[in-house]
Structures are given as structure tokens and as C-alpha cells.
């Protein structure tokens, strides 16, 4: 559960703690003070943490980056005669046929069987959100209760039943930066990495990123209402490869891959401005997902956490040319350095490039701020906390299942 640590202001009888309910009351009254995770920095610097914690009720965050571990559940409704779909394609992109008769899951990274890397699951998701029809083709072995063996039809968001994104790993708390010391160009999920350390790529909205503003997940947990792809969504679970054991800096901010979120939201209410299919050359398909999370300023601790800046957030630049064994770290850098346009590595000035859109992240944080100010978006207290311990296992090659 959320730990509502009460922080008492020295020499003052009044507690500076605000509950979720108190903040929601203010939002309903239209008196809540809401700022973005970038705006809060100057407020804390000017007024001090104690005063800022009293005055500000909510800090909004945002991120808009490629998040491969994304996908969508769909229920198509039953045809007459009915079919138990066991093999399913949407615009020639295979979808999962191992659920009940007309349920499926389409993963963002699945490639088209006819267009290959030019089109994939992420594009199907984007087309459906845009309101376009996609071709559904399904096959079955036929049963007494589901006699149909094949179906071809067109579906869109009006004629299907439930359709919700369920993304098993989104909104990574931090991420690695990438470079390439080899003589070959590398095509990766971190973009095109030029030979001989020709560039460095990084992917985060840094000081505006949701989980970097609540590094110990005090206010963000299961059941937290979030902005997801232009609609309201929820945090469903810890994300896969959730890694809260990651090494942290003195400020508590993890240095590299750490916490992640599984999120869920209604596709039919989403907007293609905030969900976009992407293609990384010679790597594959991904989904750019827009996520914003409101952080309640419960107390001084939370306001200090949200005042974090790119200078206080660090990551490691890894050499992506090494694929056998752990990738060597080329340098530990702050996001302020990465955002400066170049990083000096052993005397070489290496240009940097982002992959996650700061412009869109700001738009999302501003949009969420407006929604809260207008009373359209209330905060939800988590029903359970996300784990604060644990790290992902490695996949070992085992001889048998007894080990």
C-alpha cells in the first residue's frame, strides 16, 4: 500500500501532509494548483520545498517514446455461423489465436506476412484508433459448436466489441544510452548507430518522465489512473523486467533500466496523436506510446522528488557493438549532458540524438494539467504498491528441466 508518511513542519503544529482525497476535493472545487514536472523546479527553487509542497497539489509528467512491449486485446463478436478462430490475421499481420473463439491479442512488433518490416501490429493498432477498417482473416479447424472454418471481413472500432491496449512494459523509469565502437553501422531499437562512435542515442523525457519523478513509487501503483494514448488508462501491474534493484544515485534516482509499468486503456477513446506506429530500420516495428502520470504532492518529500532536473538524472552509455556478454559502459552521463548535443568520450566529441519526443512529452504533461485543472481528471490512490525489490532473471541455456 501507499505509505502516507506524515512529515511535520518544524515549529509548526499543522502537518504538511495532503491526502489523495483532499487533493481530489480541491480538483472538484476547481481550486487545485497543478503544474508540470518542469514547472515545479523553478517553484521549489524560488519558494523552498515546504512552501511549494503546501501550494502545489499535483505535478504532471509525460513521455512519448517507442515502447515495443505494447499490444491490444480485441473481441470481434460472433459471426453466423460462428467460428472458433485459431489462426488470425489483421491486414496480413498475424494476431494470437490461442484465446477464446473471437478474442485475440495483436502485438505491436508483429510483422506483416506480405509487407514485412514496412507494416506491423503497431500500424494495425494505429489504423483502428484512427477509425479505419482493417481486413480480418481467420481460420479454424471447425467444431460442432463452431462449424465455420474460415472468415474474411472488415472490422473497425465501431463494429468490434472490447478493444483495449494492454502494454506489458511501458514508461521505463530510465534507459540506457547507446553508441557503437565497431567499424560497422548498427541498426538497433536505439536507432541507427554510426561506426566508430559516430553518434549516441538516448530515449527518455528525463525530468518530465513519470517514474523519474517518483523514484520510489510512493504515489504510483496498481490502479493509478493515467493518461494513455489520449484516453484515461490505468496501471495494471508492474511492467515486465521491472527492476527496482537498479543502482541508484544519492537522490534515489536509478541509473539505467529500473521500474516499468504494465498499463491498460480503452483503444476506442484513444487519439492517434498520442499513439503512433514506428519503424526502426532493419530492426522492426514499434509503437510510440504517449503516457502521462499525475503525481500528488502529498508532502515535502514528493515535491522534492518532482523537482528533479536532467542534471540530477544519470544513465550509462553502452557499447551496442558488443552482443556477446555484458555490453561495456563507455561513460556515465547526465541527461543534461546528453541534451547538450554532444558528449566527450576519451577526447572525442560524439553527437547525441534523442529517440523519445520531448515536444510530445511536454504536450502530454500540459494536456493532463489542463484536464486536472478543469476537473475532468481525478487522481486515484493505488490499491496496491508495485514491488520495490527485485531484478529480472537472465535466460540461461539449460540441458534439461531438472536444474
Amino acid at each position: 500500500m501507499v505509505n502516507p508518511t506524515h512529515v511535520e513542519t518544524k515549529g509548526d503544529d499543522t502537518m504538511s501532509y495532503k491526502s489523495f482525497d483532499e487533493i481530489n476535493e480541491k480538483i472538484k472545487e476547481g481550486s487545485a494548483v497543478v503544474v508540470t514536472a518542469e514547472e515545479i523546479t523553478a517553484i521549489v527553487a524560488k519558494k523552498g520545498a515546504a512552501q511549494a509542497a503546501k501550494e502545489v497539489d499535483v505535478v504532471t509528467t509525460g513521455t512519448f517514446g517507442p515502447m515495443c512491449s505494447s499490444g491490444m486485446f480485441i473481441n470481434f463478436g460472433h459471426s453466423d455461423p460462428p467460428i472458433r478462430m485459431s489462426k488470425i490475421w489483421l491486414n496480413d499481420v498475424p494476431a494470437y489465436g490461442g484465446l477464446a473463439a473471437v478474442d485475440t491479442y495483436i502485438g505491436a512488433t508483429e510483422l506483416s506476412e506480405t509487407k514485412g518490416m514496412e507494416y506491423g501490429g503497431a500500424h494495425v493498432i494505429e489504423e483502428l484508433i484512427a477509425g479505419r477498417s482493417v481486413k480480418l482473416h481467420a481460420q479454424s479447424y471447425g467444431t460442432d459448436c463452431y462449424p465455420r472454418k474460415e472468415i474474411t471481413t472488415w472490422v473497425n472500432k465501431e463494429n468490434i466489441n472490447q478493444a483495449y491496449l494492454y502494454n506489458p512494459r511501458n514508461a521505463y523509469q530510465n534507459y540506457a544510452a547507446a553508441s557503437n565502437t565497431s567499424d560497422k553501422i548498427l541498426y538497433t531499437y536505439m536507432g541507427t548507430l554510426l561506426p566508430k562512435m559516430g553518434n549516441i542515442t538516448y530515449t527518455t523525457s528525463g525530468q518530465l518522465s513519470p517514474l523519474l519523478n517518483d523514484p520510489f513509487l510512493r504515489t504510483i501503483g496498481i490502479g493509478t489512473r493515467i493518461f494513455l494514448g489520449g484516453a484515461e488508462g490505468y496501471i495494471a501491474w508492474e511492467g515486465t523486467q521491472h527492476n527496482p534493484d537498479q543502482k541508484r544515485g544519492e537522490n534515489g534516482v536509478p541509473i539505467g533500466l529500473a521500474a516499468s509499468l504494465a498499463v491498460i486503456g480503452d483503444m476506442k477513446k484513444m487519439d492517434t496523436r498520442y499513439i503512433r506506429a514506428g519503424i526502426f530500420e532493419k530492426y522492426g516495428i514499434t509503437l510510440f506510446v504517449g503516457i502521462g502520470i499525475p503525481i500528488p504532492i502529498l508532502d515535502e518529500d514528493m515535491v522534492l522528488k518532482t523537482a528533479v532536473t536532467d542534471s540530477d538524472i544519470y544513465t550509462n552509455i553502452f557499447d551496442y557493438s558488443v552482443s556477446d556478454g555484458p555490453r561495456p559502459i563507455l561513460k556515465k552521463v547526465s541527461y543534461a549532458e546528453l541534451r547538450s548535443g554532444s558528449v566527450n568520450i576519451n577526447g572525442n566529441t560524439v553527437p547525441t540524438a534523442p529517440l523519445s519526443s520531448m515536444k510530445m512529452a511536454r504536450e502530454i504533461a500540459q494536456k493532463l494539467k489542463r484536464q486536472i485543472l478543469q476537473g475532468e481528471f481525478l487522481l486515484s490512490q493505488p490499491v496496491a504498491s508495485l514491488p520495490l525489490e527485485g531484478s529480472p532473471n537472465r535466460l540461461e541455456i539449460r540441458e534439461n528441466g531438472n536444474g
Partner: protein
């Protein structure tokens, strides 16, 4: 007569690098040269991409001079079209742009595209995840 600007890449073979081509451009044809990209070394094939600015008849004469000197060249007839309305300003294209034509604005983090600096290398066309960078035909 009106001035005209052309963008051109010259390809030097190893034994041609000793020829002072740009000197002739300036002295004999009264051209203004802006070097956009140069990759030239002794005994290797070199590339030089330049903007040439001058009177049309002088530009034509300069190209004829290149023919006489057996220097291969390619005129830029294509250009890169950025479909800004579909762009999410992620920055992936800036990672591969060799000329700095594509850059992120460090204040508002929008993508900026300086067509003058563009070498039409087309790296951004492949690197753009949203496929909003295209080559004009």
C-alpha cells in the same frame, strides 16, 4: 545576368586530388563556393559536395571544365521533403544526419530542417520511424 545556385558532388579518383579544382572555379569562372561536405585523401576516391553560386553561363562552363578534367560529378536534382504534420519530433533522424541539416531545437525540442545544409544523402529517409522524410522525385 541573374545569379544561380547549384549543388554538386565531385568524385575525385586518387590521382586527381592534386588538381586545384576549386581554385579554377573561383579564378576562371567567378563562382562562389560553399563547401558542404568533403572527404578527400591521397590515393583514395574523394568526395566534395559544394554549393556553386554564379552566373549561369559560368556555371555551365565550370561543368564543362569538369568534363574536360575527367572529374565525375552529380548534380543534386532531388531534395528531401519533410512532412512536418506527421512528425512526432522524436529526433531519430538527427542521429544520422551528416551535415547538421536536421537538428533538435534545444529550447522547445522541435525538429528543425535547414534545406541549405542538406546533402540529400537520404539517411534520414531510412532512419525516420514515422516515415515522414521522403525524397522528392
Amino acid at each position: 545576368m541573374a545569379e544561380k545556385k547549384i549543388k554538386i558532388t565531385l568524385y575525385y579518383s586518387g590521382n586527381q586530388v592534386t588538381k586545384p579544382i576549386t581554385y579554377h572555379f573561383v579564378k576562371d569562372y567567378d563562382l562562389m563556393i560553399n563547401i558542404l561536405h568533403a572527404d578527400i585523401g591521397l590515393n583514395s576516391v574523394g568526395r566534395l559536395t559544394v554549393d556553386l553560386i554564379g552566373e549561369e553561363k559560368n556555371l555551365e562552363a565550370a561543368l564543362k571544365f569538369l568534363d574536360e578534367e575527367n572529374i565525375e560529378y552529380k548534380l543534386f536534382s532531388k531534395s528531401i521533403i519533410w512532412q512536418e504534420e506527421g512528425c512526432v519530433h522524436c529526433g531519430a533522424c538527427t542521429a544520422v544526419c551528416p551535415s547538421g541539416a536536421l537538428k533538435m531545437d534545444p529550447v522547445d525540442w522541435t525538429l528543425t530542417f535547414d534545406k541549405e545544409k542538406c546533402l540529400v544523402c537520404e539517411f534520414c529517409v531510412k532512419a525516420c520511424p514515422l516515415k515522414v522524410m521522403n525524397v522528392s522525385i
